[in-house]
């Protein structure tokens, strides 16, 4: 009985301290910085302005943001199309094999995503493996220009982020009891119907979690844009990085970053809504 209070206090102080210092404070700093002015030598000047936000609506920047989101969306879609069946099949395997196969999905992470992006470059460069194979097989005459294109960035993002789609989907499929599928079949539903009305709604939280875990990093992974994208396929992350490490325009970088966070918040709210919908079977029946 004696140890209870101090222990609890210590733990709470530690946790609150960490969260306040390293999560709340930095984000507040970013918000604050976005309303200040740029200073050449010291990064920020204490002069409030809305100019950074106005700059966001410059057509050049809007075009970049749009293109970046587009690439991220395509990446997410690709990851979903490839990852969904994979996660399902993985979850239906023998219990003894599953952990190892799951590990095999995670192992590539330990070679660092920059290395993996570079490996992708080895494949798609003009002198790379893909071109060499295709030329060798005689399917093409001149090498394909794969590197420094939008496709290269999307493929690079897809490759690095696929495991992030697989893992939450796998988790949700693990919870999907096969008896439900059987029951649906017994009640006369065909495979497609079972999928559409049973599997899809039940796995929706996993789908959305996976999509969020892919979409949000995808717009920020500037190194993929740098290594594979060349001059023209900037990601929002590239723009932000330039502001902080090259152009030294921290307020503008902060404003872009806030825009990104807002977009994230909206997506998360959509996630929250969808999860609530799933949890309320009555509401769902009403919708159907």
């Amino acid at each position: 009985m004696k140890l209870r209070k101090p222990f609890k206090t210590v733990v709470l102080v530690l946790i609150w301290g960490w969260i306040l210092l390293f999560v709340l404070a930095p984000n507040l700093l970013v918000v604050m910085t976005s309303f200040l002015t740029r200073d050449d030598a010291h990064f920020i000047r204490w002069q409030a302005t809305l100019e950074n936000y106005l700059r966001l609506f410059d057509p050049d920047y809007l075009a970049v943001f749009g293109h970046s989101f587009y690439m991220a969306l395509v990446t997410t879609l690709l990851c979903l199309l490839v990852g969904y069946p994979f996660a399902y099949l993985l979850s239906r395997l023998r219990a003894g094999v599953k952990p190892y196969l799951l590990f095999l999905v995670i192992v590539p992470f330990w070679t660092n995503s920059l290395v993996r992006t570079y490996a992708m470059k080895l494949l798609i460069a003009t002198n790379g493996l893909v071109n060499q194979t295709l030329l060798g097989l005689g399917w093409i005459d001149t090498p394909l220009r794969l590197l420094y294109t939008e496709t290269a960035v999307i493929v690079g993002l897809f490759y690095v982020l696929l495991p992030f789609m697989i893992l939450p989907l796998y988790a949700i499929f693990e919870q999907l009891r096969p008896e439900l599928l059987e029951a649906s079949g017994d009640l006369g539903a065909g495979t497609w119907q079972t999928f559409r009305r049973v599997v899809l709604p039940l796995t929706m939280p996993g789908i959305i979690a996976g999509c969020l875990l892919v979409l949000l990093p995808a717009v920020g992974m500037f190194y993929v844009g740098d290594v594979l994208g060349g001059a023209k396929n900037l990601l929002i992350g590239n723009v932000i990085k330039n502001q902080f490490l090259d152009a030294r325009d921290w307020p503008f970088g902060a404003a872009i970053s806030l825009l990104l966070t807002l977009a994230m918040a909206m997506l998360l709210y959509a996630y929250y809504l969808s999860v609530r919908l799933i949890r309320r079977p009555h509401a769902h029946a009403e919708l159907a």
Binding site: G230, A231, N233
Partner: protein, 347 residues
């Protein structure tokens, strides 16, 4: 037992990286591909000072990084271009150079000393000078068809060009093409250059200042901007890659060694600078990476082939219409604004 062994091994791993606290170190921050490994190794062998080497690909990135690091954490030697030496000098970021500690200083070519960007070389020691011109892969582009900056605007080059990731150099090209000086400070001229460069953007495949020769060697780009040293190294691997001095004038620059005021190993920095100023080291650097040495004594001992190589040491004819990069003062913010817009307008 095995658990004890593993924990011991883990402890050793931790300690191993902490041991380096005793070593003699020198934190050198330099352009990438701008220092042969051999030089660093030889320096360490002779003096026992280990060089911790980091690189940057643009003056802007270097400057941003230096601004981020404080007294306890900074670099000892950095190699900015002329206009950044003046900028940093004005802002009080540079430590004064005590020339009495550099016995080899006299080796330097007097023509390159005492320049406006650093009168009397109080703050900087010239390291290498060079030019930024045009690279042409003669396997893909007919030799002789590209002799001016203007030729790069040819729509036939769509998606085939490389530009260095350097704000001043790209705008220098844009300004020259319009007949202005590459060191122009008039905002109207700079904006005009921006609009002209925007027309070039569809031709640009990539920006690269890490190692501009690589996209040429890999076949990703066929023509564009390049530094002369990179062209020199490229020709070594692929003789088809030519370096062309553009008619409107090649861009000349000089990079110098400076010691930031926040440097921690100032002694080691002086030892390194003196080491670099030796004729044989200066010659080695020039021969390895193809840039021109400001060290007169070094140039005298150079390999004939390198001394007569026009890519490394241009003739007077090559240098017609050329301009050295100089400080543009306040106008730099105008350049920065338009450079940012140019790079974002990529799509």
């Amino acid at each position: 037992m095995t658990r004890l062994k593993t924990s011991l091994w883990a402890v050793c791993l931790f300690l191993g990286t902490a041991v380096s606290a005793e070593e003699k170190l020198l934190y050198l921050y330099n352009w990438s591909e701008y220092m042969p490994e051999q030089v660093l190794e030889q320096f360490e062998k002779e003096t026992g000072i280990r060089v911790v080497y980091s690189t940057y690909d643009s003056n802007e990135a270097m400057y941003a990084k230096l601004r981020l690091l404080d007294k306890k954490n900074s670099y000892d030697l950095v190699v900015p271009s002329t206009y950044y030496v003046s900028k940093m000098r004005r802002e009080g970021l540079l430590a004064k150079i005590d020339k009495s500690r550099l016995k080899n200083f006299a080796n330097l070519d007097a023509k390159l000393l005492n320049q406006p960007f650093d009168p009397d070389n109080s703050y900087s020691v010239p390291y290498l000078w060079g030019s930024t011109g045009i690279a042409v892969n003669t396997d893909k582009v007919e030799a002789g068809t590209v002799s001016k900056w203007r030729d790069l605007w040819n729509p036939a080059f769509k998606d085939r060009l490389l530009l260095t990731n350097d704000m001043r150099e790209v705008f220098h090209m844009g300004l020259r093409v319009l007949g202005y000086s590459g060191n122009d400070t008039d905002p109207a001229h700079i904006e005009a250059a921006y609009h002209e460069l925007k027309k070039l953007v569809p031709n640009v495949r990539a920006y690269n200042s890490e190692a501009p020769r690589m996209p040429y060697l890999e076949g990703e780009t066929d023509a564009g901007m390049i530094w002369n040293g990179e062209a020199y190294m490229a020709k070594d691997e692929n003789p088809a890659i030519d370096y062309v001095y553009p008619e409107e004038g090649v861009i000349l620059w000089l990079d110098s060694l400076i010691i930031p005021t926040t440097a921690r190993n100032v002694d080691h920095a002086y030892q390194f600078i003196d080491f670099i100023l030796r004729p044989e080291i200066g010659a080695l650097i020039s021969e390895e990476i193809g840039y021109a040495s400001p060290n007169r004594a070094a140039v005298d001992t150079l390999d004939e082939a390198v001394r007569n190589n026009r890519t490394v040491y241009p003739t007077a004819e090559d240098l017609e219409n050329s301009e050295f990069q100089i400080d543009v003062g306040e106008a730099i913010t105008v350049y920065e604004k338009f450079w940012e817009r140019l790079k974002t307008a990529g799509d």
